[in-house]
Amino acid sequence: MTRPITKSLEIPVADGEGERYSLRMGPQHPATHGVLRVDLELDGETIVECTPQVGYLHRGFEKLAENKTYAQALILTDRLDYIAAMANNIGYCVAVEKLLGISVPLRAKYIRTITGEMSRLCSHLLWLATHALDIGAMTVFLYCFREREILLDLFEELCGARLTFSYPRIGGVRQDVTSAFIDELQRFLDIFPSKIEEYETLIDTNRIWLKRTVGVGKVSGEEALALGLTGACLRGSGVDYDTRKHQPYDAYDLVDFEVPLGSDGDIYARYRCRMEEMHQSARIIQQCIDQLPPGPIIGPDAPDLVMPNKVPARIEASTNAYGTGLIKLIRDRNLYVSGDVYVATEVPKGELGFYFISDGNNRPYRMHIRSPSFIHIGALAAIAKGELIADLIANIGSLDVVLGESDR
């Protein structure tokens, strides 16, 4: 009986002579945050070459959007970065509003800012949870999920969905916030800083955590710019760039916040940046709650379904949804213009850009999404080279990539 035995495995003998060991990590691997595949060439445990492969989650959103009206394509953006769907929705809406010249009422702007920052908190909590778990700190994972749960409950209270919201509308938001929502959010904001402290006591000054993160995955400011990094990955390297500050949209120019900067550009700097961002997000939400003005929540020229502000107590059964007066469709289609526009917003992962070419129709001629995760995965090859496998895992966590957004 002949059977392949162990010698069929191409295991190099450790003679120190350029023998390489190739390892294919993913697409199913506990630490690649989805379906990322990384092809590694190893010398011992040192990475000689690292080739990230994406596309396992490709769903063709950019092409799909060409066959949908602007209002319909909104739901596709939920599935980009499913951890912070709200931020994508807002990014999309801001871009379409700019393209079509639609104005947004002030109250809607504030509500969007609140929900955008809430989704940033959600995303950062999940990032911290998985990043810590990748490095081996298991308890932080569950602590973060405890707080994330409160936020998801709040989203549920707000719009009925916990993951894919489609809450913002082109020209405003879908429903108004309730006072119960605001109270609950206020309660969350009161306890949140102490919860951040709780995570920090576990890992912030932990010697092992410091050993795993300080000086690992270093990117200088110039390199970061050259690689196209954005968000906390760029700010961790000391480059002061935040679309919320430098090209403000929604209500970001009406609230006061700081953009936390790191200097070393290593994993620890990026970690500190995001932790500070959580504090800043909480601060922004607090200001928005305090300043929240009254008024309409959707503009008069929104090319969308519009919900009534007040639901009638009793509704006659009818097969025609529009006949009930519950939903009215704005039928004025003259607002579509031709031209192209690129609008970037600051989502938790970095700069999310939408590029539209419009030919005057009610659907985009071409939509391109500049997704931060895709570009960050591209940078992984440069960052991880020469480091160990364990550092690769830490780097993937630190770049905070999500494959739904990368593969679109």
Partner: protein
């Protein structure tokens, strides 16, 4: 007749230890659960009390998958090697005065030999699985066990010097039954080195690199399933118990306690072992994982020099006093 009696004792010890292993997993899941603001197992029995039994039955009836390209005999033997080596070391542990299966004079050496042998199981498992992740896990384990075995052996030399024996019962008796007699105080450096090496030796957090699940999927046991996987698990837990017992015997005064217990002499021993087990679990809930090179750094550059210094210090003091 003696042999028959011995066999009975072996079976009793085996059964008791297996029960402890099963409930050590329950203990761990409950404690970590409560540390992580959740409940742990709750479904099977009152507060999940029968969970370990359900787990055992489940893994027993699971399909036993052997990869096609695996080196079959080695693949099958590896978990058995682990378990047998770990079980064998139980023979020399003194649970109470006279409660020991084999009261041999080289007890401590015997345990070292067996725990080194157990690492063969891990290395062979990694090699025989014919999977790259398993192979890396096996390699890591080999390097880790060799480095930390040295540190651990050296850390216990101080105890051997003080007790003047390698027989575990004699080491306990040399500490006397007074609280201050424990070697924890005179051998605090040795205990420090021993404790860290103990974590590394049993592949526990923060040194769980051979099975680092976020890096190597599950390391050396990636390809194992069902009962064979459970055997690795059992071996790991028995390993923890053996290491905790050595810690108890060599540093915490073994079966001696503040007052003797009339009907169940090993009570103090068991409590001390469970104190160690609790520390294992507590550390797992708290610390992140070391990186491979940092692990080596710690072992060779800190623990071994410390242990050597401890030997010199202990020898000098002993020579001066006597």
């Amino acid at each position: 007749m003696d042999i028959l009696l011995m066999l009975v004792w072996i079976v009793v010890l085996f059964a008791v230890v297996m029960l402890h292993v099963a409930y050590a997993t329950y203990f761990e899941r409950k404690i970590i659960g409560h540390m992580q603001v959740r409940l742990g197992p709750m479904r099977v029995g009152w507060h999940g009390l029968f969970q370990p039994i359900a787990d055992g039955i489940k893994s027993f009836f699971k399909e036993d998958i052997i990869p096609e390209n695996a080196d079959r005999p080695t693949f099958l033997a590896a978990p058995i090697i682990c378990l047998v080596a770990m079980m064998t070391s139980l023979a020399v542990l003194p649970f109470a005065k006279g409660w020991v299966l084999a009261d041999i004079d080289i007890g401590l050496l015997f345990i070292f030999a067996m725990s080194s042998l157990a690492s063969y199981g891990v290395v062979l498992a990694g090699w025989a699985s014919n999977s790259k992740f398993s192979f890396l896990g096996g390699l890591r384990s080999m390097a880790q066990v060799i480095s930390y075995e040295i540190a651990m052996g050296l850390s216990l030399v101080g105890v051997m010097l003080l007790a003047g024996s390698l027989n575990l019962s004699e080491i306990v008796e040399a500490q006397g039954d007074r609280f201050l007699g424990m070697y924890l105080m005179p051998q605090c450096i040795g205990f420090f080195v021993f404790f860290i090496a103990m974590l590394a030796e049993t592949n526990r957090v923060p040194f769980d690199l051979p099975e680092a699940e976020t890096e190597l999927v599950s390391g050396y046991c990636t390809e194992y399933s069902g009962m064979r996987y459970a055997i690795f698990f059992m071996a790991e837990y028995i390993g923890m118990m053996v290491m905790a017992s050595i810690g108890t015997v060599c540093f915490l005064g073994g079966w001696n306690g503040p007052f003797p217990v009339p009907f169940f002499p090993p009570l103090w021993f068991v409590l001390k072992v469970y104190l160690f087990m609790f520390l294992f679990i507590w550390i797992r809930a708290t610390l992140p994982r070391y990186r491979y090179d940092q692990l080596m750094d710690l072992g060779w550059k800190l623990l071994i020099p410390l242990a050597l210094a401890n030997i010199v210090l202990t020898a000098c003091i002993k020579a001066l006093v006597s």
